[in-house]
Amino acid sequence: MLAWAVIRPRGWPEAVAAAPAAVILIAAGAIPAGAAGSEARQLGPVIGFLAAILVLAHLCDDDGLFRACGAWMARSSAGPSRRAVPRRLLVQVFVIASVTTAVLSLDATVVLLTPVVFATAARLEVRARPHVYACTHLANSASLLLPVSNLTNLLAFAASGLAFGHFAALMAVPWLAAIGVEYVVFGRFFAADLNTGDLNALPRRDRARADDEDTGLPVFTVIVVVLTLAGFAGASAAGVNPAWVAFAGAVVLAVRALVRRRVAPASLVRAADLPFLLFVLSLGIVVKAVTDNGLGRALAPLLPGGTSLPALLATAALAAALANVCNNLPAVLVLLPLAAPSGAGAVLAVLLGVNIGPNLTYTGSLATLLWRRILRHHGSSPDLGEFTRLGLLTVPAGLVIGVLALWAGLHALGG
């Protein structure tokens, strides 16, 4: 089933294989129907939460939020010193990509923000490589902060029993540390590209296209997103599932967009990506069956118990390795039940591993990478060496510093 998800015959959604696999496993008795049901009950709210965030990000894009970000980056990168433009743009990209990933999830950064960043770099006549690579890296390593930043976080959040605010407080310093490591490495790794600001360059008027026009910040949308964020923390503290807040935020923006006829209902349904939600549910049941039937026992000795610093480091390293072999979603589903008994600290260490780790391979896992290599019939092969070198520089350092920050946070704030 994992092979199907990677290969995707004829472009069929992953759920086409995953859902029957889950049904077969239940029918064959590999997982009791009751256990499958409780897994589904646990995953249901997580999946609903994810759907709401996907729709929210889509509506933010429709309302021009990312276009406005591009215009802001272009404006504030241009300045008296032309030579500094590429480096200033890199700072803006780091800020925007980190916040976008944290608030609207890594999908928003990869799908919605990356093209805007490329367009901004082209408009400023800056080599786009460092800035686009920054988006792809930060989509992973800057997805540590909030439960909504990454599906892996939503799953771990449900398993850890932490409140929304407590989760964010524990992850804030590791998040900043991981971003800091990325920034330092990027500044050195791409020094040549970042030094090519042109002293003679003038803004190119022929570039100004309709979609590049600054439409201004969509204030209403930003307010709704900020209120939704505040609502997450409030609802969680009051014992209400924050998924309802995400749902409410998405509904407010959706109704407004529908009334103004800016989006079609079909595109909202499409943004919620129902086949994917079914896939996650099926994957959860299949992974549970596999874990209960041996994989859990096989992995348990590898995972150290407790939340001492060496134990957290080893947990994060194992999670990063597993995420790189298969993918971070199956990896987190396998590791969560094993880490949860050791407490929230161990669960968050798993998250550091599965969120930062995928930057080692540019498709997030070796399985996806190998399949893409096989598929590539034509043209030159991509320069994997450069991406891998960049990953080797950022991932181990990010993991170690992130875990140190987490360990310190657990001691200061309590896990």
């Binding site: 082209a122 022929d206 498709t363």
Partner: protein
Amino acid sequence: MTDSDTQLRSVYIWVCEGTWRASVDAALSLAPADARFTLLHVTSPDVPDAAHGAYAGLFGRGHRAADDPGTRLEKMAATSASDLLKAAAARLGRRCERLEVQGRPERAVVAASADADLLVVARDGDRTRLGPKSLGKITRFVVDHAACPVLLVWPEPAPDVATIPPPPHHPPPPPHHPSPPDR
């Protein structure tokens, strides 16, 4: 070249983001007016590939070709390249050929300019001082491997000669030196 003078016939100008103006200006001031100019731009697939990869990494979600940011980046890169060549041609103000190539820039530039009489290249590294770091990795490869004469220009006035670090203070010891024990 069989002509008796040293007239250059085919001048390739490597057009890169950020430094192309200097290359065009150098060609205008240093190449003969009747040279055949070619503006060469290389689009590297690795930036769209990074976006393709990130999209594929969205496990279970990266399956809609229409949403793939890599595809959008490929289209934008093509537009950006043609805009850049258009702007370079306008600055050159001479008849010229525009050549847009896909591939690894370092190898594509060497291959495309193999039969040229001159290739104009701008430095693109750390340009605060004279030295090997004033060439980025890709430009270094082109300068090292070019099969034609290369004109290497500074995109802005070159740094002072004093920016070269001083030579080592002590000369290195002779390689073989029958040394008596100290003291």
